[in-house]
Symmetry: C2
Subunit: 207 residues, 2 copies
């Protein structure tokens, strides 16, 4: 790894390439050119080639790219050849939405447990919501690759501190707050508020 620094912009496009290639494969398209990919994703062919070239040349001059092979390669680059164990902290609306969402599993992300300050002994999609008191013990005794923070924003930082103290290295954060974490911990945010405000800006910007 680490042949060359890949820019943030390129990384953000990788899931788009991946999703596009999955669709093409489903439609039994065997090969595709950079200009066709560009047309689908609304970027220049040049950028497609430049992006893919970052990871080595998997195209064939005069032919294009083999859809299945390229899809697999990008899956590997994205780490989708591995399995990840997730736990969800906060079983409110968002937490339960994530529990119910089956779409992640096919990419190798499996929700193993959920925690909340109040438990009702109900199972959501086969997963019982445990009490927060059990969180630390759970992490110590199970493999937890990603902790999903879906709590109120008031406790999000405390929860982050706790899971990090227990050894969790990656956080997927849905709380509307910028978490403070050591550099070794990876945080990826879903910020609905920011997205909504950008939408609001764009609604007012036109004309």
């Amino acid at each position: 790894m680490k042949e060359k620094k890949i820019s943030q912009a390129v990384i953000k496009r990788l899931p788009k390439y991946y999703s596009c290639l999955r669709h093409l494969e489903e439609d039994n398209v065997a090969k595709i050119s950079s200009s066709e990919i560009g047309k689908i994703l609304d970027i220049t062919p040049s950028q497609v080639r430049q992006d893919l070239c970052n990871f080595g040349g998997f195209g064939q001059q005069g032919y294009g790219y083999d859809v299945s092979k390229l899809k697999e390669t990008i899956a590997t680059i994205l780490g989708l050849d591995k399995q990840y164990s997730l736990i969800i902290i906060g079983a409110g609306n968002i937490g339960r939405a994530l529990l119910g969402y089956t779409g992640f599993k096919k990419h190798g992300f499996e929700v193993k447990a959920a925690f909340d300050v109040k438990t009702d002994n109900l199972k959501y999609d086969g997963i019982e919501v445990r009490h927060m008191d059990e969180l630390a013990e759970y992490i110590r005794t199970h493999q937890v690759d990603i902790a999903v923070i879906a709590t109120q924003k008031t406790v999000a930082q405390d929860v982050a501190d706790e899971v990090i103290a227990c050894g969790v290295k990656s956080i997927w954060n849905f709380a509307p707050i910028d978490l403070n974490v050591p550099k070794s911990v990876i945080v990826e945010n879903i910020s609905m508020t920011e997205s909504l405000l950008v939408l609001s800006y764009r609604m007012n910007e036109l004309e």
Copy 2:
């Protein structure tokens, strides 16, 4: 409006400035300098000044920025001085999470109705889920500023087509699909899958 084209990068930072200023105001901070803002948001003072300067100079040389005034100005730029009516289409987990989330209301975004293919006559946070059949009629007879698409991805494009046909100009899309819309319609996506794949990439990139 439209004095100068504001770049996407600047627009994405506006919500961050806004949130930062709200916190400062809560803490009764009266004035702040570009370097202090930069320190909080982890960007250079230069960039802060450059960004704010896009919208006109609201600072005072030798002093800094008035927190409340700047907060209000950015709120106006973001269009937060207005009220918006939202409808949610798809009352599954994500739809209900959005129904339950009260955080948007204080920025002027109010959920007025929700629709789904199956209705249970239950109210979620005071809002009854109507049948999809009523969607078109509802939009024609009510002001709808933003349609939130929280359906399965298989029907998301159809729903988008329908609300656009009824005159909706802005869509907040939670379905994992790139919607095809006329240029006059604004779409803002929340893409959990893309976010998760970026997280996955970053987990594998280190070392």
